[in-house]
């Protein structure tokens, strides 16, 4: 057993989980800030971004060291590659949370209006995707990751519906255009967070099963390994 190498892998895993927690928290805070028109939560999201950026660099450095110094193979190699990609997706999730917070900061300056869009429902679906994608990583279970992939279509539909309804609202009630535009951008930000959760899930499947299921390719291979998940 290569103890030092194993310690390095454990360290990488712990750091990525911590970063996952930060990114998940940022999205939840940003969504709650939108729902409550809460500026203090917006500031927390903005302040938290630098922590996520620092974590991203540290994870990349550790992964780079392990690749260079330990020459990992097979499942270990796949794990490290998956971690570097998940790391990048989590950082982007943090960026999307900042974008949402910035929309909210614009929105609180404007009168509150009723809009035909259910952002809280969409936010709940997206948060669940991020949470489950991270759970699939913690558990090393590809079937959990697979379930996240299936949720992405639901969020895409929500985004499309929001787009149609909000454009209609802007046409019918020009006075709500700015609020509707902010809501539209938030819906798009949330949909992008869902895309990152999907990417994370695909990377978990790659790590666990050795199958590349991106762009709907390789799902057959993944299915053949249903019962062979590790960890």
């Amino acid at each position: 057993m290569r103890t030092r190498f194993q310690q390095g892998l454990d360290d990488l895993r712990t750091r990525l989980l911590r970063m996952g927690g930060l990114a998940e928290q940022a999205v939840d805070r940003a969504c709650q800030a939108y729902i409550d028109r809460d500026l203090s939560r917006c500031h927390l999201v903005l302040e938290g971004e630098s922590q996520i950026n620092v974590a991203e660099r540290e994870i990349d450095e550790l992964a780079f060291d392990l690749l260079a110094m330990q020459q990992p193979m097979a499942v270990d190699l796949r794990f490290i590659l998956a971690v570097t990609k998940i790391n990048s997706d989590l950082e982007r999730v943090g960026d999307q949370a900042v974008n949402i917070a910035e929309r909210v900061m614009d929105l609180v300056e404007l009168p509150k209006v009723d809009l035909p869009v259910d952002i809280p429902r969409m936010a709940a679906a997206v948060s669940a995707m991020v949470r489950r994608a991270l759970e699939s990583f913690i558990e090393g279970k590809a079937e959990l990751a697979q379930a996240v992939l299936e949720m992405d279509n639901v969020v895409d539909r929500m985004r499309d519906e929001a787009f149609i309804m909000l454009v209609k609202a802007m046409n019918e009630r020009p006075e709500v255009t700015r609020q509707a535009l902010d809501a539209l951008l938030v819906a798009r930000n949330l949909e992008r967070v869902a895309d990152h959760a999907t990417n994370i899930s695909e990377d978990v499947i790659f790590w666990v099963r050795g199958a590349d299921v991106r762009h709907n390719v390789g799902n057959d291979v993944a299915a053949q390994h249903e019962s062979t998940d590790t960890h």
Binding site: R2, F5, Q71, M73, A74, V75, G210
Partner: protein, 252 residues
């Protein structure tokens, strides 16, 4: 040109101890195939069965079928005929210490009664060029002994010696384990070039080396071939848990 090797139900023993169990393997012509596994797993015994070196050990025996191209190794072919078709390079370079560089390369041919001096010169030069040693030794071929060369040069000299008899298969039993990284790099580059003309089977403890030079890899454990597949598959996503545990350093 290299030829393919077909191994069927190969078993080998040292006295009463069985070292190989029912090995089946197809080695592709003009490719490098790596054999990996922990110490004592039977990988060296396996390659030594391919050229009947195994039976030179007292009480050692082998059963099963090995075909080198059209030649049936264990049926109706003499060991000498086999070894003319299969060159072998060992872990520790073993040039003949009292012979010149030239005579080291020419030794196999001279032993076989080859006397054409002009042709012999050509073969020695070609073999040394193939082993990427010619430029380093051409000025003192007959003046210096094989033992005067560095470890890496000695190993390339041994490769030249093996190539001089114009084999179809080259067996390499941990050819770089006694060499520094620069010499190792030269030998690996050489393996890459030699594949065009020979079939190569390389036993190695160095998994990075296997992944660098071989298109196919077989993993041996306790005398059994656990997994045989394209090298890329073995080192990124092996099918057998035991292979994965070995190459990720979880045992062995």
């Amino acid at each position: 040109m290299g030829v393919s090797i077909q191994v069927d139900k190969l078993n080998a023993w040292f006295g009463k101890t069985q070292a190989l169990y029912d090995i089946d393997m197809k080695v592709e012509a003009n490719h490098a195939t790596a054999v990996i596994g922990p110490s004592g797993c039977g990988k060296s015994t396996f390659v030594r069965c391919l050229n009947r070196m195994h039976e030179t050990i007292p009480e050692a025996r082998a059963t099963g079928r090995v075909r080198i191209g059209e030649l049936d190794v264990y049926n109706g072919t003499s060991a000498t005929q086999i070894r003319r078709r299969i060159g072998m390079v060992f872990q520790k370079p073993n040039p003949f210490p009292t012979m010149s560089i030239y005579d080291n390369v020419a030794a196999g041919l001279k032993l076989n009664g080859f006397r054409d001096r002009h042709r012999l010169d050509e073969i020695v030069e070609r073999s040394l060029q193939l082993s990427a040693l010619w430029d380093e030794v051409k000025d003192f071929l007959k003046k210096k002994s094989g033992a005067s060369l560095s470890g890496g040069q000695q190993q390339r000299l041994c490769i030249a010696r093996a190539l001089a008899v114009q084999p179809q298969v080259l067996l390499m039993d941990e050819p770089c384990s006694a060499l520094d990284p620069i010499s190792t790099g030269k030998i690996e580059e050489l393996i890459f070039q030699l594949k065009e003309s020979f079939t190569i089977v390389i036993v190695t403890h160095n998994m990075q080396q296997a992944s660098r030079v071989a298109e196919f890899t077989g993993f041996f454990l306790l005398g059994k071939l656990i997994e045989f597949d394209k090298t890329e598959k073995i080192f990124t996503n092996p099918s057998d848990k035991r292979t994965e545990d070995y190459i990720t350093g979880r045992f062995g």
